[in-house]
């Protein structure tokens, strides 16, 4: 562990903990910007998809990891973002730079509408309520056919910016850079929230409502705000997803997506922004990894390429079981342990990361 000498309050407030962090994250950003020159078009598409999942994951992480409110229905807000974005572009002719933030605001508003009647619900009950809303939204999309195109879905137009057209197939590089910029902006906003009073009031609500209240935190308002911001970010991810997939319908945002989103941030590491990114990497690249391993096995046994339907979700489920049992802090938590182990070598102790384990405590006694 590095010893950091703080000379001013700014050192505490800064975006990065110290210069080395800043250096590594800048290096990562440079690599991310240079990525189109390093990988092929197919992989670049996968990375773009990863960015979308990471943004959606950040939205959910803010709610689950940092405010302690479970949601099993976040696909509903992806849907709000995706549909309103396309509707603004098609019906009002708004440019993407306006329609996307507006779509985010719409999703945020939807989130607020959900949060207000459910402020009294906790933990598992909240998870069920949001799940019900996720399922309801699927049917609502079908019912609102005149706007949403129902089961047959709608097409997302190409993004036009400064005379350049962004499309997954014609200009994946441009789309990747655009989405990278959006991701970085949201990431900075997220960090800003965490280092300001708002983020602390979220953490207060997560860890002890009773004393948050005694500190003057208005629980209902804070939870509503957390829902709004979380759903807003998720809505932006939805708008990005709509353009990326080109066409979407009610099935694109079904309950399985909601569940996957929650599982994703758990695998990545609940309570860490980095966890959203780790989870997105797993979600997007797991199918690649599986087919890669399968090719190797087939190469060794000389067998024909055999596909097992449902293998991906089976493997994903098994990974999740392992994560919950052996590393409740997810992949990012594991990485922190490994890093500390090497930094302190040979003085690492097993109990260095021991913490009380719960984000959501027992529900019976509320």
């Amino acid at each position: 562990m590095r010893i950091i000498f703080k000379k001013s309050y700014d050192a505490d407030i800064g975006l990065f903990k110290h210069g080395f962090h800043a250096f590594w994250y800048m290096l990562l950003l440079v690599i991310a910007i240079a990525l189109p020159y390093l990988v092929g078009e197919f992989l670049l598409g996968e990375f773009t998809s990863m960015l979308i999942w990471a943004v959606a994951g950040m939205g959910l992480m803010l709610l689950v990891g940092h405010t302690g409110q479970a949601s099993l229905g976040h696909a509903a807000f992806l849907a709000v973002g995706a549909y309103t974005n396309v509707l603004f572009m098609e019906n009002w002719g708004l440019p993407f730079l306006l329609s996307m933030p507006l779509a985010g605001l719409c999703a945020a508003f939807a989130g607020m509408l959900i949060a207000i009647p459910t402020t009294k619900l906790h933990g598992i009950y909240l998870a069920i309520a949001t799940m019900a809303i996720g399922i309801l939204s699927e049917s609502i999309i079908v019912i609102l056919e005149p706007w949403t195109g129902g089961v047959s879905g709608i097409f997302a137009p190409d993004i036009e910016l400064f005379g350049i057209s962004f499309n997954r197939y014609a200009n994946i590089t441009g789309m990747y850079w655009l989405y990278l910029a959006i991701t970085v902006l949201i990431l900075i906003g997220y960090r800003n929230i965490l280092r300001s009073p708002l983020g602390r009031s979220f953490a207060a609500v997560r860890d002890s409502e009773i004393s948050a209240q005694a500190m003057g935190v208005n629980i209902a308002r804070t939870r509503t705000l957390a829902f709004a911001i979380s759903c807003g970010i998720t809505g932006v991810a939805g708008a990005m997803m709509g353009h990326f997939s080109g066409v979407f319908n009610n099935e694109t945002f079904n309950i399985v997506i909601s569940i996957t989103l929650l599982l994703m941030i758990v695998v990545g590491g609940i309570g860490f922004i980095q966890g959203a990114f780790m989870g997105a990497i797993v979600i997007v690249f797991l199918p690649q990894a599986i087919s890669f391993v399968r090719d190797i096995i087939n190469g060794m046994t000389g067998g024909s390429s055999m596909t097992i339907p449902g293998l991906e979700s089976g493997v994903f489920g098994a990974i999740l079981v392992a994560v919950i049992l052996f590393e409740p802090n997810g992949l990012w938590g594991r990485w922190l342990k490994i890093r500390t182990y090497f930094e302190l070598f040979p003085f690492y102790r097993r109990d260095m990361f021991r913490r009380q384990k719960s984000y959501l405590k027992t529900e019976r006694m509320r």
Binding site: Y9, N192, P197, D207, A212, A214, M215, G216, Q356, Y359
Partner: protein, 259 residues
């Protein structure tokens, strides 16, 4: 006008009367202690002042204004801070962050500005941090500044809770058993701190405590309770000599043991 007044406050849980027609007033600048056997209703009185419970009858006034039409989260804003008997800290946050939450009522920035972390938000943050650093210095919490609560020993947590309440910069501080579970040395520290809180910071203290040595060392006035009813009120010596108090303690041996 007294700082805090309770007037004929009664609270019932089902058939049990937890607080029965209790009246007292805490004057500005004093340390006022509530004592009594377990189940006497001391913590319940705290929870009534924090507006966690609604009284069945009676009134609670702070600086002459009734607290009964206030929401629980407005109490801190009025200048009343409290600690909890069974430590209610924010477990997954550092000591510093816990204390900073105490600054919540002094927050002037709005969520949108915070998202962009405007220069104003930065200036505000520095102001909060300066205030919190003073509390950290006062309570000798420097070694634990960046540590997560979940890994801290019990004694330190008690101090952090007190620090978080002080970060509010309250007019009235409610301490719920500040010395329970602490060693003799730690209890002495608490006694010095309470003295300083009263004399240097000018904060009025209302506390619940079982440790009679601490109570007699720091409090100006004491009220004894049993079964939700007040028994006696006066200086620590007067209350300890009161026959009704002696009976409440000695008359039921197990209460004395538990205390």
């Amino acid at each position: 006008m007294s700082l805090l007044e309770l007037e004929n406050v009664t609270l019932k849980f089902g058939g049990v009367t937890a607080v029965d027609d209790v009246s007292f007033a805490v004057e500005e600048g004093e340390v006022f202690a509530l004592v009594g056997p377990n189940g006497a209703g001391k913590s319940t009185i705290f929870n009534l002042i924090s507006r966690i419970y609604d009284p069945f009858a009676g009134d609670i006034r702070f600086q002459g204004q009734s607290l009964l039409d206030r929401q629980p989260y407005e109490i801190a804003g009025l200048g009343i801070a409290r600690t909890f008997q069974n430590i209610e800290l924010f477990e997954q946050a550092s000591v510093l962050q816990n204390l900073l939450v105490g600054r919540h009522k002094h927050r002037k920035s709005n969520p949108v500005g915070e998202m962009f972390f405007t220069p104003f938000v930065r200036r505000e943050e520095k102001r909060h941090r300066k205030a919190v650093e003073e509390v950290i210095d006062f309570l000798d919490l420097q070694p634990y500044r960046e540590k997560f609560i979940a890994g801290l020993p019990y004694g330190v947590r008690k101090v952090v809770e007190m620090g978080r309440a002080l970060a509010i910069e309250p007019k009235l501080l409610l301490l719920d058993e500040p010395a329970s579970g602490l060693s003799v040395e730690e209890t002495q520290d608490v006694a010095f701190w309470i003295e300083d809180i009263k004399k240097l910071m000018g904060i009025t203290v209302l506390m619940v405590e079982h440790d009679m040595s601490l109570v007699s060392a720091v409090s100006d006035r004491v009220m004894a309770l049993a079964d939700g009813r007040m028994l006696a009120i006066g200086t620590p010596e007067e209350v300890q000599r009161d026959p009704k108090v002696i009976e409440a303690y000695i008359g039921s041996d197990d209460a004395e043991d538990a205390a």
